[in-house]
Symmetry: C3
Subunit: 466 residues, 3 copies
């Protein structure tokens, strides 16, 4: 069935009418995508996407996670093992398996994204079933070969104004350079992601730090290591970066004396850090990154609270990012205090906080962001990048932090085709929330129009300094 | 006032119409009751229930908990003390006291269950008041003497297809045997509940373990103790059991080496275990039970997170199950890891998780169940077996885990007459939720019909292997 | 735009109609304000309020917190420093700055309160903008000089029946005496707030305890200190107090032996207590206060869970209550057990629990209050004194604790003009909730009328013994 023009709008006719009106005024606004995981190579090379399975299944942990939970093996889905070798390569059979299990995705955001892509990119308005699986596979595969579905053409079609990738601190950003050199009008911005040279518990940390300072040409010392970050941040900034991104197990921060920090650095670069040393080093580095943000103006993002690779056997066989990252309880009030004592009152700094623990929205994050000038709240993230998740976010955050301590929408995805779908869901949910505010006379319609536009476009651009 | 046919359906006419349509198609489906606390003796002996107070007040901690909170003593309600002796035996006076305080139950599920029973079982459509209390008492008392209200007749009238009791691991299951021997068509399944021989902090634990291995005919050793579980599980399974049930203070699991487990067993069976040893033994036993489930196919239920007998004086005077069990914060992500490392990837195993900590729905349980093949989520439980509780469950779970990682509804009650009322509430709430999905165009109506039927009937049957 | 008569009512026409009908029957009920922070001096002296900025901005941390979070300095808002000196005194310029940033308060309760005051007290129905800021300033300033806007006249206009202030345990209550001596009909009740002589971590604690026992004329010993509380409580009670209030970092309670308590007292009055001693002393004192409540009948309020003065620099420069108090996770189940073991079963005692951790509503507070006779739940507090906050409170509490274990509404404010606005919001939200119950046939309309009246008026009066 075709996408319904009123999907996601509240059922009440008055509220729906208001939501529809608000949505009309924002649906065609450009997409600013300030945090995501698409490949810069796509924009540089502008090659066709290979096939439906490579496009929709293999890279999407939302998809194979659900299938796996119901007994479909990762092997049967063609997920490559740790060495990059898939056991199954019959993409058409994988697609059929997907179609057979498509009913599992009822009421999940994956369905919204997939069906939006099918219709708006491929013109397919049928529900996927085992009966039409082959035909739909062929339709997609064929369309992917057309120039209209190349990455740069889609960039325009999706009305993207700027898109950020996420890049390792040691990345040479060659594809970003290639995009810049090509003269193409698209804006593909790198983001500085230094986790693997900040987290002493990552595999090969000492070696990676050694390579990192070598790349930057700085000495192997605490001061040299910090300077290496400065060098690399400048490298990123010169190629358009406006933000750094930090995915830590917790939100803990620290503000050690120089002597303490030096000693800690010396301990962790030896390898085999104690859990407390590892946590403390990550904590200290959040504060260091914030100080550097004051120097160079990069916006700082903190994404804490995921227990990564929870499934031992899946991690051993298939590696990370296989749908087994599970949220954990996260504290912000005590954890962020050292950082906030140092830089929280600076209104020339922007630190964007995300969470996987929704209990912190109203209790911790909104009160913190509703007070500290340096803090802003990122949108509903990951598992909560969903209609109910976004609605809870607004309900729990707005009364304390308002709209202007939030930063609009981040799609946070490596699934390129889902980007317009995700922004569309966010715009619909925000317009629905605002329509409710107008219908219950908490806000006038002219104000709701202004807020809708800010949430869809203006706040992301401003917060991320794009 | 008579039960309204549209009760619990959303007020919006469009959504209500859809909910009504969905509900029509599932309201008469058989009841599968895979987890509950009715007495097997009832089905074996098929005797009349004694009187209104014994039926509705004395066994229902939801009822006397609320009355007690407002200053009505347990004594005045005829609740027997620890030795089984009630101080007050004038049931009619107790019933009047109940009627005087009936207003306290406004907007609670107890009211829904009670009024559903009054109308559908006794044909009473008045609201209970002090004025009509005596008359209603008489009506109920009289009706209870009729053959139509005997347990087996009600089983048919309630359209029960199968009902599980919960039975101590040492129970001889004589009533289950009697039901089987009687040739009656009803299915009354035992469930294996070994808490009191697993929890070293229960009164008389060493003695109970000794009796347990003696009953099973196995040696008093770690290996013998495990074998005793195997023997008793087989005994239960031979009488129809399809599940085990584990009510632990926390969800902690462990996977010790054989030597460590033997040493731990030797320590705890001596009595007076340290809190850590007690917790570790319970943790280890969850993993052992899961391994046995792989051997014998019993579905495993984990019900963690209740601080039992919180009220010291009430426990001393009246014993357990007096409405003073209070939920506590519960962690699953770290707690379940040892168990999941061992068996989480087995799709031939079903472990059903319950919670009293709703913050874990979206943050922990849905992500875990949306990944691990062995995990399923039990329905909203205990305090959350209620309209708002069920709605929150769907809102917080579905977008991540879908419908098919949930297991339909459990009534979990010893109040036999409330069983159809509870299933009716669940069906109404689920149909309302699905109607909202259809009205906001997230799901088509044909799909909603299929899901409604699965939630009301199919999933429970499948998950519990009934 | 004028306040809409249907503001805050659900959009669905049926539910809105019911909400409107319920609200009509409670909107003009008197205001009982059993917990707040207005100045007793206002009622004693009945002087005019000075000016718009002193009325609406400087005393309202909801207002300047939000402005501060968006980069407006406290200095620019005329907030005085620790020594009481504001850097900026141009109130008209401050008011203009406020008007320029008024859009930040969209969808916050501050907006509801402010616009309600503007219209109902000053007859202003325009939205505040930079363009009309000066004119509105003048209108307010002029009106404040009229006798109709003096504190006592407003007391009558607001239909206040009784209002409680919150007063330090050593306060001489001279203004309460003056009100009583004046023969005015208004009831201004003190409330006993002994935090600064109970919390060993407050500045100058040893000195304050010394002054406290000196004032009471009791010896400097554990027994003398307890007697000093008795003396001061009696002093408060003689001037109309019906409650004590306790704002602790956590809900921890203790019940030490006399010897342990004496030794602990001796340690903490020396100053520089260990964190554990400080926490334990506060914990012990909650139990002591509860015991005294059994003696003298004062209702006990516990307000735990705020991390006070989280912003180091703001605290250093401007002192407490500057919008930097952040909620923290709060445990009740284990924390309250010592207290409840001692007095929880007493139905002649009322302990009212508040929370800043909404996750405890359903998991801990409702089950506790739905069992223990001594416990009642305070309304949604502080950050949750808001439409969504109040709605979540009812949704999470009612099914387990009912309505009658809650205590109606507290405004908890020092912003006198916002009191009728806050009660109006609470009445509208509660009527909306009840309308939903009637529309979904969970309650009959006659019952909803009764409950609406109890929530708006009766329960507060009863719980606080006013």
């Amino acid at each position: 069935m075709p996408l319904h023009p009123d999907r996601l709008f509240p059922a009440d006719p008055t509220v729906r009418g208001l939501a529809r009106e608000l949505y009309q005024s924002v649906k065609d606004l450009p997409i600013v995508s300030p945090h995501g995981h698409t490949e810069p190579r796509w924009y540089a090379e502008d090659a066709a996407f290979p096939d439906p399975v490579a496009l929709f299944i293999k890279p999407d942990h939302y998809i194979f996670r659900m299938l796996y939970s119901q007994g479909v093996s990762l092997e049967a889905l063609g997920i490559p093992d740790r060495d990059g070798n898939p056991k199954k390569t019959d993409d058409r059979a994988i697609w059929r398996l997907f179609a057979e299990n498509w009913f599992l995705f009822r009421s999940t955001p994956s369905r919204l994204w997939f069906e939006h892509s099918l219709e708006t990119v491929f013109g397919i308005t049928e529900r996927l079933t085992p009966l039409n699986a082959d035909r739909i596979y062929d339709q997609i595969a064929e369309a992917l070969q057309t120039p209209e579905l190349r990455p740069r053409a889609l960039y325009d079609r999706f009305r993207i104004e700027a898109i950020s990738t996420t890049d390792a601190a040691t990345d040479d950003l060659r594809y970003h350079d290639a995009v810049l050199a090509s003269g193409w009008h698209g804006r593909v911005l790198p983001a500085y992601r230094p986790d693997f040279v900040i987290d002493p518990e990552r595999e090969g940390f000492p070696q990676r730090v050694a390579e990192f300072v070598a790349l930057a040409g700085t000495p192997m010392s605490w001061a040299g290591y910090l300077d290496a970050h400065r060098v690399r941040r400048a490298y990123f900034k010169a190629r358009g970066a406006t933000s750094s991104d930090h995915g830590h197990p917790s939100a803990r921060t620290a503000n050690l004396s120089r002597g303490e920090a030096e000693a800690l650095f010396d301990r962790v670069v030896k390898g085999n850090p104690s859990p407390e040393d590892a946590e403390l080093f990550r904590a200290q580095m959040l504060t260091e990154m914030a100080r550097m943000s004051l120097e160079d103006g990069l916006v700082m993002q903190i994404h804490p609270g995921s227990f990564r690779n929870h499934n031992r056997d899946v991690f051993a066989a298939y590696g990370p990012d296989k749908g087994a990252d599970i949220p954990a309880r996260t504290d912000y009030v005590r954890a962020l205090k050292p950082l906030l004592d140092e830089v929280g009152n600076r209104s020339d700094l922007t630190i964007i906080l995300f969470t996987l623990d929704e209990t912190t929205y109203g209790r911790e994050l909104a009160p913190l962001a509703g007070h500290y000038p340096a803090l802003r709240l990122g949108p509903a993230w990951w598992f909560y990048d969903s209609p109910e998740g976004m609605l809870r976010y607004r309900q729990l955050v707005t009364e304390t932090a308002g709209f202007y301590n939030t930063v609009g929408f981040n799609d946070d995805t490596r699934a390129y085709l889902s980007i317009p779908a995700r922004h569309d869901v966010a715009r619909r949910v925000d317009c629905s929330y605002l329509a409710g505010q107008v219908a219950t006379h908490l806000m006038d319609l002219d104000e709701a129009h202004e807020v809708a536009s800010d949430l869809a476009y203006g706040l992301a651009k401003k917060a991320y300094r794009i």
